[in-house]
Structure formats: structure tokens, C-alpha cells
Subunit: 324 residues, 2 copies
Amino acid sequence: MRPKLEDVAKRANVSKTTVSRVLNNRGYLSQETITRVYQAMKELNYQPNIVARQLYQKKTQLIGLLFPTIANPFFGELSAELEKRLYNEGFKVLIGNSMNDPKKEADYLNQLLSKQVDGLIVGTHNQGIKEYNYEHLPVVAIDRNMNQDIPVIESDNYAGGVLATTYLIEQGAKKIIHTNGPITLDSPTKRRRLAYEDTMRQHGLTPITVTLDFNIPYHEKKQILTQIFYDHPDLEAIFASNDIDAALIMQIALELGKKLPADLLLVGYDGTKVIQNILPNLTTIVQPIEAIAQTAVDVLKARLNDRPTESEYVLPVSLKKGTT
Amino acid sequence: MRPKLEDVAKRANVSKTTVSRVLNNRGYLSQETITRVYQAMKELNYQPNIVARQLYQKKTQLIGLLFPTIANPFFGELSAELEKRLYNEGFKVLIGNSMNDPKKEADYLNQLLSKQVDGLIVGTHNQGIKEYNYEHLPVVAIDRNMNQDIPVIESDNYAGGVLATTYLIEQGAKKIIHTNGPITLDSPTKRRRLAYEDTMRQHGLTPITVTLDFNIPYHEKKQILTQIFYDHPDLEAIFASNDIDAALIMQIALELGKKLPADLLLVGYDGTKVIQNILPNLTTIVQPIEAIAQTAVDVLKARLNDRPTESEYVLPVSLKKGTT
């Protein structure tokens, strides 16, 4: 069997990234490391994939963005902020909406790689993405855990969950329900749920989380959320894990003849400009979209230039008090 | 002076497109036309620009999208629908947000062209774009008049304006104000304004249009819209040319203690999913975003394959009756 890059790394007792740097003559390397890697290559009769190296070295000034869908205002505004900053750095942006479909996602990645993007910024949900071999491509993740080599930019989801839950408790609510996505996802956003559950328990209250799958049709989601009101007639407050769900809950409450905040307290999450403009009364946790975009671009630039990066960047969130 | 493609076209008494097709051996051409073009080239000693031809012939399977900003839900949803369809046709999407800035727009076009996109779908506002030489690049415009060679896909803006205004008149309103963008823009959306003004006059009513510039900050826009209520205390209805403005007007009315629809009738425009989900009560003119996207992709494909296209495609809109 032909020796692989991994085999060279193993024999030279260095990381795959280091072998790749030696091959591509990038970043800081000690003479000792270089010698050790070439020695291992010789011993294994390793032939670097010349085409892959050429592809790698050829700069396209293209950055791929991969998000569930830019039709969601959070990803729409985030993509626009990313695009603006990448434009100012001389990059153009290739965009893909994975719609949380693993097949589509894998396909996008293949295609983006074949279009020779210089780097990727990824905010998709799926696990499959982890299996990808990003050896030759700088990748930055937003709000999603990928693998250890890929830095994650996120807002402080745990603090956001604590802020929202504490605020509702301070307003006097005891029966507080939380809505969130499937817990199986290895996403930093599930920390909102953990923070809600921890905070409830710390106050001697019982956490109740209602799970909403992604991509369920609008009317089905409305049905599940409406059912909450029937299942819990003593419901006092809801903490929704995004503003779109919060808006729908607000609408259902009004249809059921409930007044906000008298009959129901409600806190959303995201705080996009669109939602803040359209529903200025919604109390919500505001994610720092501009700072997330700026950090993602800075970290990607560091990766592109072989500069070291942290594995996680956590940005502060804030509570926007509306009247709900 | 070196002869240009135009000179060949003139001498051969054919269009520039035909000369281009002969050079690139694309599309249907009669032997007579081919002979005539080659004859003209010979007489003028015309040397086709080989590099340009090679660039032209090299397919990248990349399509550029150029919109004001995908942070606006209409363009966000439209871009997502376009991207989905282009993906299914094997294309990847390069995206640019021009923010209605002519310099940024020209810069994008240059960069998109240098990245060798196979085609462009453009929905920007500026005039400068007209001056571009698209000879070698299939372009489709959405809701924007470009030049004669570029097909425009639009929803029926005039019918939308008539629908909205007639609805408000039927509800008994006489003092109806319209908000819209600058009239100087050569955009099909100004037909909403024309339709409003025509319909008002046909009913013996006086049209009053309040102009809102693009890119003005939120608080400034809010100030201008608030002023309408003070300038026109007898105001009965507003027809806003987009839902974002309608949402802001709704909010201002509520802040001024007005109830909808008792104190103010309101009709918006666009009908994106996000707005329909968040403000289900808003009466609005719904643009067929999916049909617009599908038509744009079909027309672009026709252009890419040298099949003939219409110069304008007008898609029907509908009135969604809410409670405003």
C-alpha cells in the first residue's frame, strides 16, 4: 500500500500539519523538524501528491461559506457581515445553503474544495462534516463543534441561557419552559439548554425543555408550540432558543387570547436587526453578529497565514429588555 | 487603430453577438452568415482576442449573484431559492452585497468577471451597471432595468400597486399615503408608485408619495415615517412599498396609540416567509419568490446555451389579506 501523509507524520513523530508545512514550505519550522520529515519520507518512499500540493498553493482569493440557509435572518445577517469583511480583505465569497442535509453538505464540501477555495467558514449542523479531511484547507466554524483542529467562534451560549432564565425568574415566573433543537447535535447552542436547566435547578425549579426538530414545516412547529399551552395551563414563561420561534410563540399566545407580559413572559435568542426592527418589544438575548463575523475573518486570516489560533473564541452576549 | 468586434459586425451587417458566436462556434448559424463574418474579418484584418475567447469558453460552473444585501429578508430568501436551484443544475454561487454603492458594485463586477463566472444574476439598483460590457457574459436582471440585451425577471409591480391601492379604497380609505424609494431609479419597482398614483386619480383621490432613500439609518427612517402621522392627522391608510417599512409603520402607529385596522389601514409589499411568519396579520402584496428564482435560472440557462429569451418576464403577484 502506498504510504500516506499520516504514516510520514507517525514515523517522524510530528503532526500531519507539520508534514504538510514541510511539503509546502509554509510557516515556521526548525531545521531539525525539516530533516526529520524528509528522512521519514525517504524511509517510507513517500511520494507527495503533486497535484494536491499545487492546488493547495494556488491562491484563488475565494472563501466558501456553508450555512443551513441564508433565508434565516441570523445566517442572512451573519453572511452579509462576513461577506463585507472578506470583500475588504480582497476575498470573494462562495455560498452554500446545506438546509441541514448531510448529503447536500458533503456534496457542497466536495464542490467547494474542487473550486479551490482558499478557506472555509462553516456553520452547519451535521456530524458528517467532522469526517472530512481538511488537512489542506483552513477552516473556521461558527457555533458548531467540528474536530479539534478547527477553531470555533461562538457567542457565550451558556451565559445567554443563564441571562434569559435568571431574567424570567426575577420577573417572578416559576413555571418556565424552554424550546430548543435536538440534543443529539454536538453544537455549542445546546449550552443554552444546559444553562436553562442548571439555572432552573439552582432556583429549586423544574426544567421542562420542548424539542423542535430542524426543517419541520411551519404548521407542524406551530402545532407543537400550541400544544405547550394546553399541556401546561399554568405556564408563566417561555425561553425560546431563537427569535423566529419566539415570534411564533408570541403569535400563538395572542391567538389564544393571552396578553404579553401579563399572561406570558417571553425571551427569545439571536437579536438580529430584522427581528429587532420588526418586533422591537421582544425581550431577547442579542448575539454580537458583527463581532462574530470579525473574529471569524481574523481567525481565518491567521490560519491562512499559518499563524497560531485558539481552539475556541467565546464572545459576550447581552439581554435586550423589551416588554415581553 | 486595431479593428474591433463592432467593426466586423458592422461590415458583415450582423450583430456583435453573431460575430461572437461565429468566433466561438456557438449556437445556430447559417453558412452564409459564417462566410460573411469571416469575409469581414479578413477585409479588416481583424485579430480576435484569443485570451478573451479562451476565458469565455472555459466553463467554471460558477454563477455570480449581485444584490443590495442578503441581510434583507427578500434578497436573503431570493438568494437561497436561486442557490438551491443553481445547485441542482450543477452550479456554485458567488455572492456579492453591493449595499447600493456604485463603486462597490463596479468593483464586484470586475472581480466576478475576473473570477470567470459563467453567468450573472443581478438585482442591484445602480445605473452604472448599464455601462458594463457584458458581451461575453450571460446576465439576467431581477426587478432592475439594465440595458436592452439583458432580460429582466420581475413580479407584476404595476398590478401589485393597483391591488394594494384598490384594496385600501374598497375598505373605505380616502386619505392614503404611499412610501417608496427614489423615483430617479430606473427600476420596475417604481411601477408600484405609478400604479398607486394612477389608481388614486382614477378614484378622484389625491396621491401623496413619501420618498425614502436607501441606506438611511433606522432611526432616520423612523423619524421620516413618524412625521407622516403629524403632517397628515387625517391619514387613513398607508401603502408601503416593502414589508420592512410596513413593520416599522405598524410599530410607530402602535407607539402613537393607534389601533390597526381601526385607526390605520396598512398594506405592505414582498410577503417573504420570514415576515409572513413573524407578522401574520400584515396585509401585503406577495411576490412569487420561488417562481422568480426558477424563471431567473431558466432564462440564465437559455442564455448560457445561446437559446433565445424574452426581454422581460412578468410574474403575477397576489394580495394576502391580514387584519391590517
